[in-house]
């Protein structure tokens, strides 16, 4: 120790202390930093957020406010999370038209996935919220379809119909059809509860449950769904069945009756 204290007035001592301090903080940072990856992406991440902020300023700020705090035209986006942004923008719902009807409809998406990720990163940076799910989370592989059906009928069918064909809500609002909606977006919708939909966070519907529901929809309402009975007639139930029966069933039979009645036996002239 004496040796060390003897040299503490050495001209290079300050430099040594500085180096030590730096090594210390660096080491501590290396230990306590969240993850290796995050550390590596640090600059990339901030760049993404920067880009997202620019996109936000152009496409979103007029309604949601310059800092995402919300205005009279749009809600605050603080804490909605990246999943909400990915769902709303990738399904074309956002940016919404200035005068949409009772509900913002699904439309063509105008952003690339990279741009959506940038926007999502910016919004996520405003406050913690659900992040974009990975394929592992939403992929229908290995899920329990039957359980998913049960969950769907319990939680979703009252608005979205038995197999997700959609349904009416009050005052012109509606639960859209789930046909052709990607598993990722279904997952995000459940997670974040867009528009009139209630949200089903993991505490309500676990990750496994969500996966089951997605697998059920994949089985009963996708292009690979088989319809063993023939034409589905929209899958809307008795209204479309009744209409079909009246028009093609009874209509066809009346046409046949007209045809039969028009061909009558000729009486023999006596």
């Amino acid at each position: 120790m004496k040796k060390l204290s003897a040299r503490r007035r050495h001209p290079l001592a300050a430099l040594v202390v500085l180096l030590l301090a730096l090594a210390c903080t660096g080491g501590l940072y290396a230990v306590f930093a969240p993850a290796d990856k995050a550390q590596a992406d640090e600059t990339a991440q901030s760049l993404t957020i920067e880009e997202g902020k620019k996109l936000y300023a152009v496409g979103c700020a007029s309604c949601h406010g310059t800092g995402g705090q919300g205005t009279s035209d749009g809600p605050s986006l603080v804490g909605v999370g990246a999943a909400a942004v990915d769902f709303q923008v990738a399904t074309g719902r956002m940016p919404a038209a200035t005068s949409q009807g009772p509900q913002v409809p699904e439309k063509k998406n105008i952003y690339s996935q990279a741009e959506i990720d940038q926007l999502a990163a910016y919004i996520a940076s405003l406050g913690a919220g659900p992040s974009i799910p990975t394929e592992e989370q939403y992929g229908p592989e290995g899920a329990d379809i039957a359980k998913g059906g049960e969950l769907f009928r319990t939680n979703c069918a009252q608005c979205h119909n038995f197999t997700g064909k959609g349904g009416a809500l009050t005052h012109g609002k509606y639960a859209p059809t789930l046909e052709g909606v990607s598993p990722k977006h279904i997952y995000e919708a459940m997670q974040t509860g867009p528009q009139n939909m209630p949200s089903f966070p993991d505490t309500t519907l676990s990750e496994k449950n969500k996966k089951d529901i997605i697998a059920y929809l994949d089985a009963v309402n996708s292009e690979k769904t088989e319809s063993p009975g023939g034409l589905e007639l929209g899958g809307l139930g008795p209204v479309s069945e009744g209409l079909f029966g009246w028009i093609f069933g009874l209509g066809g039979l009346i046409a046949v009756a007209v045809w039969v009645a028009a061909r009558t036996a000729k009486a023999k002239k006596s």
């Binding site: 379809i145 059906g149 349904g167 063993p228 023939g230 007639l233 009246w246 066809g252 009756a257 039969v260």
Partner: protein, 540 residues
């Protein structure tokens, strides 16, 4: 000896007929009926569509009973349909899944059964309207009209109990709806509900009970009514449209044997074919996607089959009124629709009696009216149908809203207002159209058909040549008879004492005036008018 030999020579067919006749007496029956004449018109075959679809329903229904288990025991599903694997469900639902996926031809037969039911009811509706608009319900056919009406109503409930049997989520919702309607009946509602379901809803009894009602009780009554309906058609003879040679006392057409036997027989197979094709092409009631019934689950788009859609509409359109009195709740929001359901159907059932009271006509009618020649009746009928259709729209208000991008609230308000305004407008418009058509008929009789040929007369005038109608056409257009409004009659009797005029008499005179008074019908052309116009005074 020789006579015995001759007897032995009789052909086999004759011997069989003789044997049967000796025991059943069919000869006189066949002799009386085989040459029965039936008139030709496509609309007279609507009843046949109903009869044949009823037969198809019975045949396919028998097949379904072989595999269906009317039990509400809870089982775990392990059949062919993957998305329901391992789910708990009633045996009724599981066996319907088995019929759909594991029984040979099961799904096709199920779909034929259900499509035939849809068409049976639709056919009865159209058949009933045909009878209504042509006045075929008049004396002597009022009882048969009631038979037909009962068949329609029983058909509705047979259909309802039938689609409730699979115990799927959609029909279970419908049963719950019905239970709610039963509960809304004051005083006895709760008792009836407890009795019907053997306790609290849903209990474990209703599928088995509905099963007995669906396959035995109601079809049994219906079969009896159908037989009665047909016997009465034979007894009354079929009605016919007016035309040369057709009177109130004859029937012009073809004999039952061989012509109508062949036609009707062939038509049966055509009906079977069309229904089978429908069942092969389009899904009906895909219970596998609906899932098993659980009282805690429900889906949007939960409607009954079309013939109950009218009741659904009444409920959906009705505001949720209720009265609380002395600790009891009177659920008007459900009870009023329940009453309206009965009243609305009763109107059409009782109409023949109302009309015969208004006309005071006690004669038999075998010649049909053209709808235009009975404008008030036609107006009433169209008004009724309009109310019915508006309530059907109300029953599907959510589907209408989503598919036409409307607000469900707006649709419901349209239905609420339309139920009162629509029939009135329909009545007025229909009556005007009927009167217009009557005027056109009169014009045609008096001035002939517009030929489209324009002729220039020597002095330069252009005229369109009207082609006179043939004798037959003129007869057909003027054969109908026109009633005169009934008068109250003298209000003073022969002794000069003032008679008290009853309220019902006044009402009848008023109604009669509305039916047949000035402005309610166009006086049909008379022979004098015709002669005057065609007597050579040139064109008018």
């Amino acid at each position: 000896m020789s006579t015995a030999q001759e007897r032995r020579k009789a052909p086999a067919g004759e011997r069989v007929a003789d044997w049967a006749d000796g025991r059943l007496g069919i000869y006189s029956l066949a002799k009386a009926n085989m040459r029965k004449i039936f008139p030709d018109h496509w609309s007279f075959m609507l009843g046949e569509i109903c009869l044949y679809s009823f037969i198809i329903i019975i045949l396919t229904g028998v097949y379904l009973t072989l595999f269906f288990h009317p039990s509400m025991n809870e089982v775990e599903y392990h059949g062919s349909y993957v998305p329901l694997q391992g789910q708990l469900m009633s045996e009724a639902f599981a066996s319907t899944l088995d019929i759909s996926f594991d029984v040979r031809g099961g799904l096709l037969i199920r779909q034929i059964h259900h499509w035939a039911a849809i068409i049976f009811l639709a056919g009865m509706f159209v058949h009933m309207m045909r009878v209504f608009f042509t006045g075929a319900f008049r004396k002597p056919r009022e009882i048969n009209w009631l038979f037909g009406f009962l068949l329609f109503v029983l058909g509705m409930f047979t259909g309802f109990t039938g689609y409730s049997l699979p115990d799927d989520l959609l029909s279970g919702t419908g049963v719950r709806f019905t239970q709610g309607a039963i509960l809304s009946v004051p005083i006895v509602g709760t008792y009836i509900s407890m009795f019907l379901f053997g306790g609290e809803f849903p209990g474990t009894d209703f599928v088995a009970r509905f099963y007995s009602i669906h396959i035995l009780l109601l079809p049994g009554i219906m079969l009896g009514l159908v037989v009665g309906h047909l016997i009465l058609v034979f007894y009354h003879k079929h009605t016919q449209f007016a035309g040369p040679g057709r009177t109130n006392k004859n029937v012009v057409g073809m004999p039952l044997l061989p012509v109508y036997m062949a036609k009707a027989g062939g038509f049966f197979f055509l009906v079977f074919g069309v229904i089978s094709a429908l069942a092969a092409i389009a899904t009906i009631n895909p219970i596998w996607v609906l899932g098993p019934y659980r009282p805690d689950q429900v889906s949007t788009g939960a409607q009954p089959d079309w013939y109950m859609g009218f009741a659904e509409g009444l409920i959906r359109a009705m505001p949720g009124w209720e009265i609380n009195l002395w600790g009891h709740t009177l659920v008007l929001g459900v009870f009023i629709p329940l009453v309206l359901f009965g009243v609305f159907l009763a109107i059409i059932a009782l109409y023949p009696f109302i009309e015969s009271w208004v006309t005071g006509d006690k004669r038999e009618h075998h010649i049909l009216d053209r709808p235009r020649n009975a404008p008030t009746r036609t107006g009433v009928g169209v008004a009724w149908v309009t109310g019915y259709i508006i309530m059907l729209i109300g029953g599907g208000n959510d589907i209408v809203a989503t598919h036409f991008h409307l607000s469900i609230n707006a649709v419901t308000w349209f239905v609420r207002i339309g139920f009162f305004v629509g029939p009135v407008l329909a009545f007025i418009v229909t009556k005007r159209i009927c009167l217009g058509l009557q005027r056109r008929d009169k014009e045609k009789v008096l001035h002939g058909r517009e030929s489209g040929i324009i002729k220039r007369l020597p002095h330069g005038e252009f005229i369109e040549v009207h082609e006179p109608l043939s004798q037959e056409q003129m007869y057909t257009l003027t054969a109908h008879e026109q009633y005169q409004p009934a008068e109250i009659g003298p209000t003073v009797d022969e002794n000069g004492v003032e008679r008290k005029v009853k309220g019902s008499e006044k009402l009848r005179a008023k109604l009669s005036d509305a039916y047949y008074g000035e402005g309610a019908q166009i006086p049909k052309p008379t022979a004098e008018e015709y002669r005057e116009i065609t007597s050579g005074h040139g064109h008018h």
